[in-house]
């Protein structure tokens, strides 16, 4: 990876998204710097998930631009965004429920597989070698996220916390430059949250992956993020280090409400 690329990895520039009469995002601008862990927070309905969906190509803005690694990609569709090196997880876990954990994670490698349908089918030569290489990488991720014990279990049968972990594994399998996590810790108990925090920081460290995540748990956000962006009613109201954001008056107002005299 060319860590020397100057400038931000991702630039969102004046993006607005509209659903009928509802302005889900209004003129939101932000950057994601290479190597950082960025948290996006805000009250319910603030537009956090919409922002993630715009970045990963599920929605397209009617205004503004998105640049990734310096190139404009405002209009790309999700598969093309994934091909650029942006992986994501979903708020409501989106695993392939009928497939085993191992197969789920292997699908994350699909983009990196090249090959010939015929050779694949015959399980021969380069196809076989390629499959084994991908398997090796996937096994590394499985070790890393400590899910060896459930490799063969159908994903749909796992408890929620583990499903979230498998979804993270699948996203990692694509070796993304930018990883988008939509509430990776929602619905988890304290212990699971601690594990997930550790994994996120380790991923950031070891795989050199830039991470942008949405999270509600303020303790977690303050602990793991380098920078925090706050959305409220589709607008960005704060952007800074956790300490700065914690003291920001606009943020306090958004979360606690403002007294109207």
């Amino acid at each position: 990876m060319s860590g020397a690329t100057p400038g931000p990895l991702l630039e969102v520039d004046g993006v607005s998204v509209r659903f009928g009469a509802l302005l889900a995002l209004q003129q939101v601008s932000l950057t994601v710097q290479p190597g950082e862990v960025l948290a996006i927070i805000g009250p319910n309905g603030a537009g956090k998930t919409t922002l993630l969906n715009v970045i990963s190509g599920f929605y397209h803005p009617y205004q503004g631009r998105i640049r990734f690694a310096g190139r404009d990609r405002t209009w790309l569709r999700p598969p093309d965004v994934a091909a650029l090196g942006i992986a994501r997880t979903f708020q409501n876990v989106a695993l392939f429920r009928g497939m085993s954990v191992l197969d789920n994670i292997m699908t994350g490698r699909l983009l990196r597989m090249r090959g010939n349908v015929l050779l694949d089918a015959l399980w021969w030569g380069p196809a076989r070698r390629q499959e084994l290489e991908h398997r090796a990488f996937v096994e590394r991720i499985i070790d890393f996220l400590e899910i060896q014990a459930i490799r063969k279990t159908p994903a749909g049968r796992l408890p929620y916390g583990l499903q979230k972990r498998v979804e993270l594994a699948r996203a990692l399998a694509a070796e993304p430059q930018l990883l988008l996590l939509d509430e990776p810790m929602a619905g988890m108990n304290v212990e699971e949250k601690e594990d997930m925090c550790r994994f996120i920081l380790d991923v950031n460290d070891e795989f050199d992956t830039t991470i942008a995540l949405i999270e509600h748990d303020m303790g977690v956000v303050m602990d793991i993020s380098d920078r925090v962006i706050v959305l409220d009613y589709g607008r960005k109201i704060a952007d800074g280090t956790p300490e700065q954001v914690r003291k920001d008056q606009a943020v306090l107002d958004a979360y606690l409400g403002v007294a109207h005299d």
């Binding site: 093309d80 392939f96 292997m106 089918a121």
Partner: protein, 311 residues
């Protein structure tokens, strides 16, 4: 009382007394069953990849057969006509993805289902407009005659059809289990959003799946057409595929194969041995009664996923 006894005992006595004849019935059943499987497979592929129950699958069989016969009638050599038919079905898949599926993406499944009903009527009308509505003979060069193996009569045409169907079904199963596209297809079948997010292009997968369903339709069209002529009733074999799907489960390729065989063999045996007791014509309703029983006791089918709705 005697009637009940006759129904329970006499048919088995018949089977035991003439095993060769029973083998012939069995082979006929397997041959018909593989054909049902082939049609059901077209449904399963599309249902798995897009959640759409393709009402037009039967008409696709008719359309493929009509195109092939029409081209041959115009003096084009069989091999070239076949290649052109394949091309037509692939183009059709592209057109369906572009014109029907893409504008309806993320709509309710029932709306997509309605769209395939529309497609059904369009293809039927279009096929007849281009190729004419009269019954056509399709000669594939295999005589509809029988020969004896160990004293058992085997029909050449049925045998060829059964072997072709078996080869095709196996090839498809390998394709979807072992290849990259197969893995992508299974992913799409499970969760569209997740599939998109890991870089699987939904549109490409849909086009591939509809193309494969088109190829399956060609083979089914040739086989049925060679036997009973190419005519409108070809599209009705889709109705036979429905109980096959209920038996096998809508999402299961092995299920479609097993379901087709069970129904093919079951209805032949029921017709031959139990038919005389009730005045015949069991073949026409056997599959549906069996499907009804399955709906009552095992609605997910033999291999389908059990649907448990959380409240």
């Amino acid at each position: 009382m005697t009637e009940v006894l006759a129904g329970l005992v006499a048919p088995f006595a018949d089977i035991a007394s003439s095993p060769r004849f029973f083998a012939e019935v069995l082979i006929g059943g397997v041959a018909a069953g593989l054909m049902y499987s082939l049609v059901a497979l077209g449904f399963v592929l599309i249902f798995k990849a897009s959640g759409v129950f393709n009402f037009a699958q039967g008409v696709m069989v008719l359309f493929a057969a009509l195109t092939l016969v029409g081209l041959i009638e115009r003096g084009i050599p069989v091999a070239v006509a076949l290649a052109l038919t394949v091309l037509v079905m692939v183009l059709l898949a592209f057109a369906i993805e572009r014109i029907v599926l893409r504008p309806l993406v993320n709509q309710e499944y029932i709306i997509l289902f309605m769209a395939t009903i529309g497609l059904n009527f369009f293809l039927e009308g279009f096929g007849e407009m281009v190729w004419g509505a009269n019954v056509k003979r399709l000669d594939v060069g295999i005589p509809d005659t029988s020969f004896k193996v160990a004293g058992v009569l085997v029909n050449r045409l049925e045998l060829t059809a059964a072997v072709t169907a078996a080869v095709l079904v196996t090839a498809l199963a390998v394709f979807f289990q072992k290849t990259r596209i197969g893995r992508a297809l299974r992913a799409v079948a499970d969760d569209h959003e997740a599939a998109l997010s890991i870089g699987i292009p939904l549109r490409t997968i849909w086009t591939v799946v509809w193309s494969v369903a088109g190829l399956v339709a060609i083979v089914a069209g040739i086989m049925w057409g060679a036997k009973s002529g190419v005519q409108f009733s070809l599209s009705l074999i889709a109705l036979k595929a429905l109980p096959v799907l209920i038996l096998g489960g809508f999402t299961s390729v092995p299920g479609a194969i097993a379901g087709g065989l069970i129904i093919g063999v079951g209805e032949k045996i029921a017709e031959v041995y139990w038919g005389p007791l009730v005045g015949g014509a069991i073949e026409n309703w056997f599959a549906y009664v069996l499907a009804l029983a399955f709906l009552l006791f095992r609605p997910q089918g033999l291999f389908g996923e059990r649907i448990i709705e959380r409240v």
